[in-house]
C-alpha cells in the first residue's frame, strides 16, 4: 500500500490509459436523439478487417460473420455462385498455400476440393445424442447424402470410418439383465482403478493454476466463480446497479435524482448503497457497513478492490476491460459522457451537465464484484474471499475442482452430469467426489466425434468403404486435417468475399457496359433544363434515376448532404443551435432562420402561440404521469380525445397525421422566413462560432462546392439543391433515418443556405474572379426531400425571379412525376404495401401508402433507411446514368478531368468515413443483431431520453434494430473511383486515414480509368488487380419500371435503354 501511496499519480495515469483503451472495445453510441451511423468496431479499425473481427469476437463473444447456414441459403438463392466461392477461396489462401491446395489426398480429392466441400456442406461434428438420432431414426445409413456421390453400402462405409479412425466398438453388456444389475456406483468401481489416481489429481491441481492464470486476462473473478458454481453473482445486484446508472445519466425523465448526484456517480451510489437495507434483506449482513467505510476517492477504491480480487497487477487494465464489457451498453454510454465532460449531447435543452467519470463507474463495479463474490465464496465453501485460501481448498480437494470445472464447462456426458449435479447440490462426502473425478479423469478422449464428418466427406468425395480402408488412417487424418484447414475467421471471410464478389462482378460489368454509352441527354453542348444536386445518399439513387427518365434534359449531381456548408443552425423555433455537418467537423459559423422583413409582429405572435401549445402538451403528458390530484382529473378530461386519436390512428393514420400537421401549423401561424446567412444582430448561441458567413467565406463555400461537383460551367436556368430528412412517429431511432452527413439531422437548411449564398451578386462576383461564371439567368433554389413520404418542401420561393417561374413549374411537375414513380419502386420492398402479384400499385396508391407509413404510430419500419446499400460511385454521372442500381449506391459527383487528385482526396476524406460508417454499422448489426445490433424494436423501452433497454432492467441496447436490417445484404462498401490508378495511389500514400480504411480492408476500392473505362480493384497486399469482363451479358430494360416489373427481391444492375435508341 505504502509503495502505491507514495506515487499516487502513477495509478491515476495508468487508469487514464486503461480508460482511454476502453474506447476501443465499448460501443461509442451517442445519446439516441443524436444517433449517427458509425463503424461498430471503430476502435479496432487500426487492424486488418479479418483480424479486427476475430479480436472483436474474442472480446465480446459476438459473431462478426454471417451465419454459415445463411450463407448456404444465399448460395441456394443464387445470391452467391459456386464460382464466387472458389475465387474467394483462392484469394483468401493467397501466397504459397495456394500451391499446396492442389495436393491430391485421394484420387480426385485435392485439399481444395475438401475445403470447398466443407464450405458448401455442413460437415461439423455432431453431439452424441444427435448422432444416435441420425443413425437410428433418420435415413443417414440408407440414403446417400444430398449433393454427394453414390458410394454403395452406407453401413459398411460407416463401419470403415470407425475403423480407419481406430475406434473400438463400445463394450456391450452380456444381457439386459446384467445391465440392470450394474448400479452406477458399481460400474464406477470397475472403471476407476487405483493406479490412475495420481494422473487426474495432478491434472486437477494444474487446472487451478490455469484458471487463476486467466484471471484478468480473460475472466473476472465472478466469471471464474461462475465456471465453478454455475452462479452469476451479479444477477442479484444488476437491476439495482442499472437503476442507479440510469438515474445518474438521465437527461430528463425523472424528477427526483440522487441527492449526491452532483458529486459524481461513485459518491451518489455509495451514499445510497450505504443506506440500502436491501443488503440485509438478502442476508448480506456486512455489506452495508463495508460500503459506508469505503474510501472517498474512487481511485483508492479501485486499487484496494483490485488487490483484494487478486488478478496479477500486470492485468489490472484487462480486468477493468472485462468488467466494463459485462454491460457493454451502459459502460459505453458512461464512457461517451465521460469523454465529453458529462455533456448530455447537443440539443437536449436545459439539462445541467452532471459529473460523469469512468473511474466512478469502475470503482462501483469493483466493489459490487467483491461483495458478491465474497458472499458466494462464503456461502459455498465457508471461506473468506482470497484466492490463496480458495487455492488451498482445492489443493486438498482436487476432485471437487475437477468435477465442478468439467460439469460447468459442459464436458460431462449425461450420466456423469447427473451425478455431478447431485454432488454440487450439496454432498460433503469427499469419497463421492473422488470417485466421480477418477471416473472422469480416466475417460480417454475418443475420436468418435470425427467419424460423422469423415462419413459425410467420404460420400462427397465418392469414397466407398473399400476405398477408404485402402487409403488408410493416415489419409483419413489428412482428409480431416484439410477439412479443418480454415478456422472460423477464415471461413467467415471466404463467405464474405464470395458474397461481395457476386455483386461486384455485376456492378463492374454494368459500369463497363455503361462506359461511353450515348446518354440520352440530347445535345450535350446545350445547357440542361435544370440541374439538381442531391445528397450522395443511396436512397436518392432512385429519385435521380426516375427524374432523368422523366426528363432526360435534366442533370443530377450528388454530394455529401451538408453541401459543403458546415454550420450551426438555429431554426425559427429552436432554442439551441444544432451542428449540421459530419460529426468529425466542428462548424465555425452559425446561421439563424429569421422572419422576413415586415413579419416581425407575426413572428412574435407565433412565438407566443407555439410556446403555449407546447406548454399545454407538456403539461398534459406530465401531469397525467406525475401529478397528484391533477392526474386523475386531467386524464379523465383528456380521455375522450385520446380515444378519438386511437380510433383515427387505427382507421386513417395518414388522414389524421396530415390533419394534425395542418392544424398545428395553422395554430402556430405560418410565417415567411429567410436564412440570415450574412449574420444577424444577435450574438451566436453556439460557443466559439461566428454569426453568419462573410462574403468571402460564402464565395469560398460555394466555389468549393461547385468545384467538388464538377459543375463550373453550362449552368442551367435552375440549379436546385436538395437536402433530405425523414419523419416518423413513435420511433426512438428516428435520427438514424436522417442525413448522415448532417450528424443525423434534416439537411434542408444546408441546401437552403447554399442556394441563398449562390444567388447573391457579391458572391457571384467573387466566383467570377475565381473563374466560375454563373450566368445572370441562373437561379439557385434549396429544398428538402422527405425520404419517408417523398414530399418536397421548397425554400425561399418568394425570391424566385418571375422569369424562372415557368422553368420552376416544369421542374416541379417533373420532380412530382419522378417521386411518384419512385414511390412505386419503393413499395416493392414493403411487405404491407398494396403490391399485387400481377402489377405494382398505381402511383397515387403508392404515395398514399408511404404517407400512411410516416404517420402511422404502429409502423416500426417507416422506411428502410440505408438497408441494402452496397456500393459508392465517385465520378461523373455519366458513369452510372442510364443504369439501374436498385437504390444500393452512394452517388458522389466528381469530375476527374478537372483535378490533380486534391478534390478527390477531400471527397474521400469527408465521404469515406461517412459511407464506411453507414455500411459497417449495417454490416455488424445484420450479422449478429442480438449483440452488435439492438434487437427488436417491439420490446424497446426508452430510458433516460438517451437510449433503449429491453424491458425495465436490461443492458442499454446499441446498434441498429432488427427492423432496420432485415433486408440488408451484409457486405463491405465497394467504392468505385473514376480516376486513374496513379492518382488514386498517390492519394492513398499521402493519407494515413485512408490507408487505415482501405489498407485494412474496411472498404473495398476500385478505380475506373476515365478514358478507357477499365476497372481495377485495389488489394492492400497485391496492389491493383485489373478486372476483365466476363462474357455474360448485362441485362437490358426499357426503363426502370419495366425492369422492376413485379419483382420484390433484390435485382441485379441493368442498362436502361429507351425504345428507339441504340444500346
Amino acid at each position: 500500500m505504502s509503495h502505491h501511496a507514495a506515487e499516487p499519480t502513477t495509478l491515476r495515469e495508468r487508469l487514464a490509459a486503461w480508460v482511454a483503451h476502453l474506447e476501443h472495445v465499448l460501443p461509442a453510441q451517442a445519446p439516441i436523439r443524436n444517433f449517427v451511423h458509425h463503424n461498430t468496431l471503430h476502435g479496432l479499425q487500426h487492424l486488418p478487417f479479418p483480424e479486427a473481427l476475430a479480436e472483436a469476437q474474442r472480446i465480446t463473444g459476438a459473431r462478426p460473420w454471417l451465419e454459415e447456414s445463411r450463407c448456404r441459403e444465399l448460395l441456394a438463392e443464387g445470391r452467391i455462385a459456386r464460382a464466387d466461392l472458389e475465387a474467394a477461396l483462392d484469394e483468401s489462401l493467397a501466397g504459397d498455400e495456394v500451391a499446396d491446395l492442389d495436393t491430391e489426398i485421394v484420387p480426385g480429392g485435392r485439399i481444395r476440393d475438401v475445403v470447398l466441400i466443407g464450405l458448401l456442406h455442413d460437415l461439423s461434428p455432431v453431439s452424441a445424442a444427435r448422432l444416435q438420432w441420425l443413425l437410428h431414426e433418420s435415413d443417414a445409413l440408407t440414403r446417400p447424402v444430398s449433393g454427394g456421390v453414390q458410394v454403395g453400402d452406407l453401413p459398411a462405409l460407416w463401419q470403415a470410418c470407425g475403423d480407419v479412425l481406430g475406434l473400438q466398438p463400445a463394450p456391450q453388456p452380456a444381457s439386459e439383465l446384467e445391465a440392470l444389475f450394474r448400479t452406477p456406483a458399481e460400474s464406477m468401481d470397475d472403471e476407476g482403478g487405483a493406479e490412475d489416481d495420481a494422473g487426474w489429481q495432478i491434472g486437477a491441481r494444474a487446472l487451478w493454476s490455469m484458471l487463476v492464470g486467466r484471471l484478468g486476462r480473460e475472466w473476472t473473478l465472478s466469471a471464474l466463480l461462475e465456471r465453478l458454481t454455475g452462479e452469476n453473482v451479479l444477477e442479484e445486484v444488476r437491476p439495482t446497479l442499472i437503476r442507479h446508472l440510469a438515474a445518474h445519466l438521465d437527461l430528463g425523465m425523472s424528477s427526483w435524482r440522487n441527492p449526491k448526484r452532483a458529486q459524481g456517480f461513485y459518491a451518489a451510489w455509495r451514499a445510497s448503497a450505504a443506506a440500502d437495507i436491501g443488503w440485509e434483506l438478502d442476508e448480506w449482513l456486512a455489506a452495508r457497513e463495508e460500503i459506508a467505510r469505503l474510501p472517498d476517492d474512487p481511485l483508492e477504491t479501485i486499487e484496494r478492490e483490485l488487490m483484494h480480487l487478486g488478478p496479477d497487477e500486470a492485468h489490472w487494465g484487462d480486468y477493468l476491460e472485462r468488467l466494463a464489457l459485462e454491460l457493454p451498453g451502459w459502460s459505453g454510454m458512461f464512457l461517451w459522457r465521460d469523454r465529453r465532460g458529462g455533456a448530455p449531447g447537443a440539443g437536449s435543452g436545459d439539462e445541467a451537465p452532471v459529473p460523469v467519470a469512468m473511474a466512478d463507474y469502475l470503482a462501483v463495479r469493483l466493489v459490487l464484484e467483491r461483495v458478491c463474490c465474497e458472499e458466494l465464496v462464503h456461502r459455498i465453501w465457508g471461506l473468506p474471499l482470497f484466492l490463496s485460501e480458495l487455492g488451498d481448498h482445492f489443493l486438498f480437494h482436487p476432485a471437487e475442482l475437477k468435477v465442478r470445472h468439467d460439469f460447468f464447462a459442459g464436458l460431462l456426458d449425461e450420466a456423469d452430469a447427473h451425478e455431478a449435479r447431485r454432488l454440487i447440490a450439496g454432498d460433503p462426502d469427499t469419497a463421492h467426489w473422488e470417485r466421480l473425478a477418477a471416473k472422469i479423469g480416466t475417460r480417454r478422449y475418443s475420436r468418435e466425434p470425427q467419424r460423422w464428418p469423415l462419413f459425410l466427406l467420404s460420400q462427397h468425395l465418392g469414397l466407398d468403404a473399400a476405398a477408404l480402408r485402402a487409403a488408410g488412417p493416415a489419409t483419413a487424418d489428412a482428409l480431416l486435417d484439410a477439412l479443418g484447414r480454415l478456422d472460423a475467421t477464415a471461413r467467415g471471410f471466404v463467405w464474405l468475399q464470395a458474397y461481395e464478389r457476386h455483386y461486384r462482378e455485376q456492378i463492374f460489368a454494368a459500369l463497363t457496359r455503361n462506359h461511353g454509352r450515348r446518354v440520352p441527354a440530347g445535345d450535350v453542348s446545350a445547357a440542361p433544363a435544370a440541374q439538381c444536386v442531391f445528397c450522395m445518399d443511396d436512397r436518392e439513387e432512385g429519385t435521380r434515376r426516375h427524374l432523368e427518365e422523366v426528363n432526360p434534359a435534366i442533370e443530377t449531381f450528388g454530394a455529401a448532404g451538408f453541401f459543403g456548408v458546415p454550420m450551426y443552425w438555429v431554426g425559427l423555433d429552436d432554442s439551441a443551435p444544432t451542428a449540421l455537418c459530419p460529426v468529425v467537423v466542428t462548424p465555425a459559423n452559425e446561421v439563424r432562420e429569421v422572419p422576413v422583413a415586415g413579419a416581425e409582429s407575426i413572428a412574435a405572435s407565433r412565438r407566443v402561440r407555439r410556446a403555449l401549445r407546447l406548454e399545454w402538451q407538456n403539461r398534459l403528458h406530465r401531469a397525467t404521469r406525475d401529478g397528484t390530484l391533477s392526474a386523475p382529473l386531467l386524464a379523465m378530461l383528456a380521455a375522450p380525445f385520446g380515444a378519438l386519436a386511437m380510433a383515427l390512428q387505427s382507421l386513417a393514420p395518414a388522414w389524421l397525421g396530415e390533419l394534425l400537421r395542418r392544424r398545428r401549423e395553422a395554430f402556430d401561424r405560418p410565417l415567411a422566413t429567410q436564412a440570415a446567412i450574412g449574420g444577424d444582430r444577435q450574438a451566436p448561441l453556439a460557443a466559439n462560432a461566428r454569426a453568419g458567413f462573410s462574403d468571402d467565406e460564402q464565395a469560398e463555400r460555394v466555389a468549393g462546392f461547385l468545384r467538388t461537383l464538377g459543375l463550373t460551367q453550362r449552368f442551367a436556368p435552375l440549379v436546385v439543391v436538395v437536402g433530405h430528412g425523414s419523419n416518423s412517429l413513435n420511433n426512438p431511432h428516428a435520427a438514424a433515418y436522417d442525413c448522415g452527413a448532417c450528424s443525423g439531422r434534416h439537411g434542408g437548411p444546408n441546401a437552403r443556405v447554399l442556394a441563398a449564398m449562390a444567388n447573391r451578386a457579391e458572391v457571384r462576383a467573387r466566383l467570377a474572379e475565381r473563374g466560375i461564371v454563373i450566368p445572370d439567368a441562373t437561379w439557385f433554389l434549396g429544398c428538402e426531400h422527405n425520404t419517408g413520404d417523398e414530399s418536397i418542401a421548397w425554400y425561399d420561393l418568394a425570391a424566385l425571379p418571375a422569369a424562372r417561374q415557368a422553368d420552376f413549374d416544369a421542374l416541379v411537375r417533373d420532380l412530382g412525376e419522378a417521386t411518384r414513380r419512385h414511390a412505386i419502386e419503393r413499395c416493392r420492398r414493403f411487405a404491407s404495401a398494396p403490391f399485387a402479384a400481377s402489377a405494382p400499385p398505381a402511383a397515387g396508391r403508392a404515395l398514399r401508402h408511404l404517407l400512411a407509413r410516416r404517420h402511422d404510430w404502429s409502423q416500426a419500419r417507416p422506411e428502410l433507411g440505408h438497408a441494402t446499400v452496397a456500393t459508392a460511385f465517385i465520378g461523373r454521372r455519366t458513369m452510372s446514368r442510364g443504369a439501374f442500381f436498385d437504390r444500393r449506391a452512394f452517388l458522389i459527383s466528381y469530375d476527374p478531368g478537372d483535378d490533380d487528385g486534391r478534390i478527390l482526396e477531400a471527397i474521400l476524406l469527408a465521404a469515406g468515413p461517412v459511407g464506411a460508417g453507414i455500411s459497417l454499422e449495417y454490416y455488424f448489426s445484420t450479422v449478429d443483431n442480438p449483440r452488435f445490433g439492438c434487437g427488436s424494436k417491439i420490446t424497446h423501452n426508452l430510458t433516460g431520453l438517451f437510449g433503449v433497454m429491453e424491458g425495465a432492467s436490461s443492458d442499454l441496447r446499441t446498434g441498429l434494430p432488427q427492423q432496420m436490417i432485415e433486408i440488408h445484404e451484409p457486405m463491405r462498401l465497394l467504392v468505385v473511383l473514376e480516376q486513374t490508378r496513379a492518382v488514386v495511389s498517390a492519394i492513398y500514400h499521402r493519407q494515413p486515414p485512408l490507408q487505415e480504411l482501405i489498407g485494412n480492408g474496411w472498404i473495398v476500392v476500385a478505380a475506373k480509368e476515365p478514358e478507357s473505362g477499365e476497372i481495377s480493384r485495389f488489394d492492400p497486399v497485391r496492389g491493383w488487380l485489373p478486372w476483365s469482363p466476363s462474357a455474360a451479358e448485362v441485362p437490358h430494360a426499357r426503363d426502370s419500371a419495366a425492369w422492376l416489373g413485379t419483382h420484390r427481391e433484390p435485382l441485379p444492375p441493368a442498362l436502361l435503354v429507351p425504345e428507339g435508341t441504340p444500346c
Binding site: 439386459e176 425523472s254 436491501g278 406525475d626 379523465m636 413513435n730
Partner: protein, 506 residues
C-alpha cells in the same frame, strides 16, 4: 317503429355471449394455424385478420347492445342456460347486461381492437407473431368474462385466462432469461390472488348455495363473519390483480413484453380488473365496513407508493406503469369510500387515456415532458431516495418470504427423491429401457409401465437381497428418517406444518 328497434335490440341481447365467444374462437383458429405450422410474411394477414375481425365484431356488438341497454328496460343478469350442475352446485352461463357492465365491456373491446390493429404492423416479422395474437385473443375473451360474467365461476375463468395470457406475453422474448424469469414472478404473485378467488367461490357455494354475483352480493349472508370471509377472498384477488400493496412489485417486473401488450395489460386494461371485481361486489362490501376501510387504506397507500416510486423512474415504461398504479390505487380507495360509481367512471376514462399514452411511449423522446420539480425537503433525503428507488424493498421481501422458501422446498423435495427414494429403489431410470414387454393402447401401455415397475422393485428388494440390497435399503431408510427429522426442525417446514394445520381447521 320504436318498438321494432327495441325488439331488435332485445334480440341482439341474446347475442351477448358472442362478445366472449368471438375472441375465443379467434384464439382457437389462430391456435389451429400455429399447430398447422404457418410461418412467413404471407401467413401474417390471416392471423391478424382473424384476431382483428373477432375484436371488431365484439366491439360493434357491444356498441349496439350498449345503445340498446339505454332503451331497454330489462337490466341485470341474463342467463343463457346451465353449464353443468350437481346437487347443491350449479354453474350457469349467466352474463351481466346492465348498462355499466356493457359500457365497461365496450371500453375493453375498443382498447383491445386498437391494440390488435396496432400490433399488426408493430409485430410484423416477429418470430412470435402468431403466438402474440393468440395470447391477445385469449386475453380479450378473459377480460370480457371478468367484465360481463354473471357468476364467480365464469369470472374466475376469465381471471385465469388473463393471468395465462399475461404470463405468455411477458415471456414473449423467450430467449431472454430475464424476461421469462419475470414472467414467472408475475405469474406466481398472481396465484395468491387466485387462491383468494377460489376460496371465495368455494365459500359461496357452501354458504350461499350459488356463485351468481347477484346471490353473492345480495346481502343474503346474515352473519358478518361469513360475509367478511367471502369478501376477504375476493378483495385479495382484486388487490393482487390490480397490483395494489403489498402485491405491487409484480407489475414493475411485467414490462418485458412487446409495447402493445404492456400497454393493454399493465397500462390500460388488465390492471383495472381488480377494481371491476370490487365494483361487481359492491353490496357485499357495503355489508362489511371494516373491509371498506381496509380497501381505502390499501388504495391510498398504493397511490402514495406509486406516486413516490414513479418520481425516480428513468425509463418511460416504468414511469407510466407507476402512474397507472397510483391511479388504480385511487380507484380502490374510492371503492373503499363507497364511491363505486365514480370509480367506474374513473376506470373507464383512465383506461382510455393511459392506453393512448402507453402506445405513444416510444415517442417520449419527442414529447419529452419536462418533469415537475419537487420540494428539496423531499428530494435531499438519501435514505428516502434509496427506499423509493428500491420500491421500499417489496420485491426483495417477496423473494425472501415467498420465492426462496418455495425454491428451498423444491430443492429439498428433489433431494428427498435423490437421496431417499431413488436409493431405496436404487434405480437409475434408464434401466427401464430394453425390456421386451410392450402393450398397445393406453391400457396396454399402462400395464407395461406397471409391470416394469413391479419387476424393478422385485429385482432390487427381493432378488438382490443376497447381495445385501435389502439390508442396505433398510439402513438407508434409517438415514432418510434422520434427514427428515433434521429437515423438520428447519423453520420453513415448521411454517408448512402450521399452515397445513390451519388449512384443516378452517
Amino acid at each position: 317503429m320504436l318498438n321494432c328497434i327495441v325488439e331488435a335490440l332485445a334480440l341482439a341481447g341474446t347475442l351477448l355471449p358472442l362478445v366472449v365467444a368471438l375472441p375465443l374462437m379467434g384464439a382457437l383458429a389462430i391456435g389451429a394455424r400455429l399447430v398447422a405450422g404457418v410461418h412467413g410474411d404471407d401467413s401474417e394477414p390471416a392471423t391478424a385478420g382473424l384476431a382483428r375481425g373477432a375484436g371488431l365484431a365484439s366491439l360493434l356488438l357491444l356498441a349496439a347492445l350498449s345503445v340498446g341497454s339505454f332503451a331497454a328496460t330489462a337490466k341485470g343478469t341474463q342467463a343463457f342456460g346451465e353449464w353443468f350442475a350437481a346437487p347443491g352446485f350449479a354453474v350457469n352461463l349467466s352474463f351481466a347486461s346492465d348498462t355499466q357492465s356493457l359500457l365497461l365491456a365496450l371500453v375493453v373491446a375498443f382498447l383491445g381492437w386498437v391494440t390488435l390493429v396496432f400490433s399488426t404492423n408493430y409485430l410484423h416479422r416477429e418470430a412470435g407473431f402468431h403466438r402474440f395474437f393468440l395470447a391477445m385473443c385469449l386475453f380479450l375473451a378473459g377480460m370480457q368474462l371478468i367484465v360481463l360474467s354473471g357468476n364467480a365461476v365464469l369470472g374466475f375463468i376469465g381471471w385465469e385466462l388473463c393471468g395465462l395470457s399475461s404470463w405468455l406475453l411477458i415471456g414473449f422474448s423467450d430467449e431472454r432469461p430475464l424476461a421469462t424469469g419475470n414472467a414467472l414472478f408475475a405469474f406466481l404473485a398472481n396465484r395468491i390472488g387466485d387462491a383468494g378467488f377460489l376460496l371465495a367461490i368455494g365459500l359461496a357455494y357452501w354458504w350461499v348455495g350459488s356463485a351468481e354475483w347477484s346471490a353473492i352480493a345480495s346481502g343474503s349472508l346474515p352473519e358478518t363473519v361469513k360475509a367478511r370471509m367471502l369478501a376477504l377472498g375476493l378483495v385479495t384477488a382484486a388487490l393482487a390483480k390490480s397490483a395494489q400493496l403489498p402485491f405491487t412489485p409484480w407489475i414493475a417486473r411485467a414490462l418485458e413484453g412487446p409495447t402493445p401488450s404492456s400497454a393493454v395489460f399493465y397500462g390500460a386494461v388488465m390492471v383495472h380488473a381488480g377494481v371491476i371485481l370490487l365494483i361487481r361486489i359492491e353490496p357485499l362490501l357495503l355489508q362489511v365496513p371494516d373491509m371498506m376501510i381496509a380497501l381505502a387504506f390499501a388504495g391510498l397507500a398504493t397511490a402514495v407508493y406509486g406516486w413516490l416510486c414513479g418520481r425516480v423512474q428513468s425509463d418511460v415504461k416504468s414511469a407510466l406503469v407507476y402512474a397507472t398504479v397510483m391511479q388504480v390505487g385511487l380507484m380502490v380507495a374510492a371503492c373503499g369510500f363507497g364511491w363505486f360509481e365514480f370509480a367506474a367512471w374513473h376506470l373507464a376514462l383512465h383506461a382510455l387515456w393511459r392506453g393512448y399514452q402507453f402506445l405513444m411511449a416510444p415517442s417520449y423522446l419527442l414529447l419529452a415532458p419536462r418533469p415537475a420539480s419537487l420540494p428539496p425537503s423531499l428530494t435531499q433525503n438519501v435514505p428516502l431516495y434509496t427506499a423509493v428507488l428500491q420500491g421500499f424493498w417489496l420485491d426483495r421481501l417477496a423473494r425472501g418470504l415467498l420465492l426462496r422458501p418455495t425454491l428451498s422446498l423444491g430443492h429439498d423435495m428433489r433431494r428427498l427423491d435423490d437421496r431417499v427414494i431413488d436409493r431405496l429403489l436404487g434405480v437409475p431410470q434408464e434401466s427401464h429401457r430394453g425390456l421386451a414387454m410392450s402393450g398397445n393402447g393406453v391400457a396396454g401401455r399402462a400395464l407395461t409401465v406397471l409391470s416394469e415397475w413391479l419387476q424393478l422393485v422385485e429385482d432390487r428388494l427381493v432378488l438382490q437381497s443376497g447381495g445385501g440390497a435389502m439390508t442396505r435399503g433398510l439402513r438407508r431408510v434409517g438415514d432418510a428418517i434422520r434427514v427428515l427429522e433434521g429437515l423438520l426442525e428447519e423453520p420453513r417446514y415448521l411454517m408448512l406444518m402450521v399452515m397445513a394445520t390451519f388449512a384443516v381447521i378452517l
